[in-house]
Amino acid sequence: MSMNRRQFVRALGAGAALGAAGTLAGCATTGGGGKRVVVIGGGFGGATAAKYIRMWAPDIAVTLVERGQKFVSCPFSNRVLAGSMTIDQLTTPYDGLARNHGVKVVHDEVVAIDPVKHEVRLAGGSTLGYDRLIVAPGMDFMYETIPGLTSASAREQIPHAWKAGPQTVALRRQIESMRDGGVVAVHIPKAPYRCPPGPYERACQIATYLKKAKPRSKILLLDANPDITSKKGLFMAAWKDLYPGMIEYRPNSELHDVDASTRTAKLVFGDVKADVLNVIPPQRAGNIARQAGLITANNRWCGVDYLTWESVAHKDVHVIGDATLSAPGMPKSGHMANQHGKIVADAVVALLTGRPVNDEPMIANTCYSWVSDREVVHVASVHAYDKAKKTMVTVKGAGGLSAKRNMKEAGFASAWAENIWADMLK
């Protein structure tokens, strides 16, 4: 006779055995048999959630729906602009999730969510039922705020390069083919946007290349914000020391349109014409979240209960990552999304197996930024759930910045990337 663990436990009539199972190393506490979780989006949040649910509750069936064949990391993609890394080095396949964790990975696109029937419909025509749904679509651009970027050709001419992949390569090509003495203009949207230090790191990485290849060129940072939003002192020191005279920072440079044919940024205070124009448009929760009615804050972000990351709009639907309304002091970052993925995994497993949800979740963030091809700076923070305020709050006294840019953290940053990519996908 052959029996699996559940049957065996049942045969014993020993409910207690389930509670004790976790006390022995190698005996995963399971339960949740027959339950189905669907995860939409295989980025830092979604892939992590899918893996951790399977790791912590192998009896729960997890299907991850992701349109890309492979994962391409946004963190470190600015280094492609400097020529220090290739897209291939940022790319990890999804097969580890299936092979090592039994996640069913479906390469398709979700076209509709039915929160009443507990179903998602795929572009390929099939339907997936779920007990709990995790929506991790990242962000999409609010192109309606920049009419000149309506056409596909305009979006090629003026790349965002804010989702890593072909757009990153397109921006790299434009900078490579620019004349020496040209101007690269980068427009930064008002916060909140994905990866607060990213645009300032981008200036450093473009400058790394220009300093070597086209030293008479300039970088114009057109920031819609009144000031540098992250690691200000560290970035300003790097610009001044490493790229003197090359980077000009213009705060309060709100964009209202572009002219793609002439690569002109139309700012509230006049036009700026560039040789290469990189516009990072304003962002909101990914389109599927919007379409499913999950956006509840400022017409942009998805409100959630920070204990379970369950949507405040739909029951049994959780939202994580950049798409969510960030609690105060919580940046939209890949590291953060990885942390959301684990909290939601634990909460979903708890809810599906009938144990209490963790009422004291902790998450931490660290964003490493490359200020040259060998030096790195970081910002870190730790966040705890505040029971009275019902939100995550930054732990006072914890977190902080690098004392100054340094090479030691270049090694740690690379180690971080390797480990976080493996933590989500292997």
């Binding site: 663990r5 020993a14 005996c27 931490a364 180690a415 493996a422 292997k426």
Partner: protein, 106 residues
């Protein structure tokens, strides 16, 4: 009767004396597991890093607690980021996170 590998786990529990009442403290510390998962972003899943950021899996619990408290107090020489993370955690959390990593296979 043949039992599958997961069945063998349950079997082992029985063999070890399931009849005895199970103390709450002997149960899986889910909170610690969740807190420790936060560290995994840098130190690898369950602390299994193989690179410059050191692994935590299977390390001695007392040593881990000591190091983390030293980070928190700013007493460790080599600290680019850990002193900033350690300051976010209480004594109790440090003990339980350390116990979690100590219990992981190397």
């Amino acid at each position: 009767m043949r039992i599958t590998s997961r069945g063998a786990c349950a079997f082992a529990i029985v063999a070890l004396g399931l009849a005895a009442p199970i103390a709450a403290s002997a149960q899986q510390d889910y909170k610690a597991r969740s807190w420790a998962a936060s560290c995994a972003a840098c130190h690898g899943t369950n602390g299994h890093s193989t690179n410059e950021i050191k692994p935590l899996a299977g390390k001695d619990k007392i040593a881990l607690v000591k190091i983390l408290k030293e980070f928190r107090a700013g007493e460790r020489k080599v600290a680019t980021v850990m002193h900033q993370h350690a300051k976010g955690y209480s004594d109790d959390q440090i003990e339980r996170i350390a116990a979690y990593f100590a219990a992981q296979k190397k």
